[in-house]
Amino acid sequence: MTSAPVASQVDLFRERFERIVREVSRRIVGQDEVVRFTVISLLAGGHVLLEGIPGVGKTSLVRTLADVLHLRFSRIQFTPDLMPADIVGTNIVQEHAHGGTFFEFQPGPIFANIVLADEINRATPRTQSALLEAMQDVSVTVGKTTYALDQPFLVLATQNPREMEGTYPLPEAQLDRFFFKLRVGFPDEAALHEILHRMAQGDSDVARVMDGPEILAMRQAARAVPIAEPVQAYAVKLTLATHPGAPDAPPLVKRYVRDGASPRAALALVLGGKIHALASGRAFVSEDDIRAVALPALRHRLLLGFEGEVERVDPDGLIQELIART
């Protein structure tokens, strides 16, 4: 009977996942779904773009997550005058004790496990692109030297969808590197009351429930989850249907979408589906898991055309149309 270890792994994964979510939710109120998807992205080794108006708890979420996971946390406030070296670090001249000088690399804030890139769209594209290598290869190159970043590595970027003046929209290549794009909505009335009550009592203390090696073990378990060919085919079909030139594309996609999702979207659907299944206590992926992660995995990968931009088409509506028809 070889199933016992697998069953225990499934149970352990679920228990750890719930523990993280429960602990983060002690400080973050009314954002359960955002918390769950953020943890899924962390366990998938992906990065998250958080979009929401100021004050809804984006930065608090990232800071709390770092506290709970016992990981190194750094915050970078993106501004128009921020330089790439301010992110990745730079070589500075040092003096030997016995005389003479040498260059020594001073790591930037990117050298952390959880990096909060606050208001990432306020930095120039040049600075934004400094994150590309770190996000994709988990390494940075300064001069002729490449420095590996510690695992787990997670970039959580935030942006404000309202104040677009003086911002630099993220390039498509960088958008595609975010595993999920999560919308942090305004909390409802009950959640707002709860926030006020907790503020009156002071910041809730959160426990460190997990560390880096445990997260890496969970990542390994997630990748072992089997996915049947029909379910994988569903993810592929969903991805292809986002392309306006695809035969299965619905009319709305053909009308409003300029470019569809990249292959990274299919990866995000499958891997996110695996973790979603494990978090639900299942050792297999179903089409429901794929559908559950479709919105955060696809919404930033649909590039709207001129008509879509003018009519302010919501990509979420297009994706829901896709799900309904696929």
């Binding site: 072992a224 089997p226 029909p230 379910v231 297999f284």
Partner: protein, 433 residues
Amino acid sequence: MRVLPRAAAVACAAAAGAFLLDRQRYLGLAVLGLSLLAAAVLAVLSRRVRHPSDRDVAGVDRAAALDGSLHSAHWFARHPAPPAGRHGDEEWIAFHVETAAARAAAVDWRAVYAEPFPARRGLAAVGLVLATAALSIAPSPRIAMPEWLAGQDADALIVVPSHLAGEVVEGMNALKAGQTPSREALTAVGRALEIARTDPRARRELDDLFAKAAAADPRWLDGAWNHDWDVNERPDWDEGMPALEWAYETAAARAALDDAARADEGTTEADTNGRDRQPGERGTELSRGSTSSKRPDSAILRPDARGETGTFTSFLFGRQQAQSDGGVAAGAPAAGQAASIAAALRREVVHARTDVGEPPRAPLARRPSGLGPSAVDPGVPPTGLRYDASHAARPPVVPEARRALVHDFFLRAADTGVEPRAAADRSPEGARR
């Protein structure tokens, strides 16, 4: 199996219908047998399909609310050895299949799907099968038909009136024997044929009567029966109704000719010999088959009142007109001419309306038929010629529905000069144009 009760119900209904109408008594059993055969074929085919399709499994998964576990595990079960690591760790796959099987086994499938063949429906199917068999074997139930049904369908089931049936059979027997039936029998056959022209059921019934009449006459069958039909003219009785219609029309024409001849003969002989012939004497002679009637054209050609051989044209237009053609009726017709006329008439029956007792108001010209030039061409009589109407006889009755068509298509008044288009196209002049 689920459709078996319905098939049995259909078979039982068919058997009940056949039982009441006393028709096709084994129809119910036939339907039942076909249904069982189809069920057996489907059962064999369903056993051959061992693996349900992926779509079917997905449907079962949804119906049982298994969250996709059955759907996914079914695929892994059908693909037991995927490439290593391609779809997941083998331990995880085994665990997944095991848990999915356990979960599917725990499902109360009776709550998901209704029982396909409950005992109640099985009993109903057995009862219907037994009823079908009983209805197919039981004696005729026509006496048990409801009065309203029996009364309503009495005419429909027996469309030839019963009081005509005996005379119709008598007339048929006479016609088959080549004899002229009695006037009453001929009238009965004609009336029955009129009914049969508009009622297919009457036509079938008459056909049956006609077939039985043939079988009921052993003298005809053994060839001993003396008949007037010429070898070339005798209809093919196997044709059924067309042969009967032809025989009836010929016999009617013969009877009319006999009447005219009898009347003429009576007048002439009374004048010359001072005595009348006995009524029916002439007809008796003909029916026995006189010397002339044994000739090939005997069915058409009859000695007229003056002892000369008549022709069909004389029958239609009177002897003087026929003689004025200068050939056709001047002497004995060429051998086979009358047979040709008869053959042409079989293909194309022409009924000319003639005013008996008066001179023809307009000369009638027979057009060439569509099959070629007509063998009968009486021509146009000289203007001012008066006809002896005493030799004219009323032709066979033309059905009302066909009267106008025949008149307009085949005949025209010479003085009108109006030529129908179809006739003009068929005329030799039109053909040459």
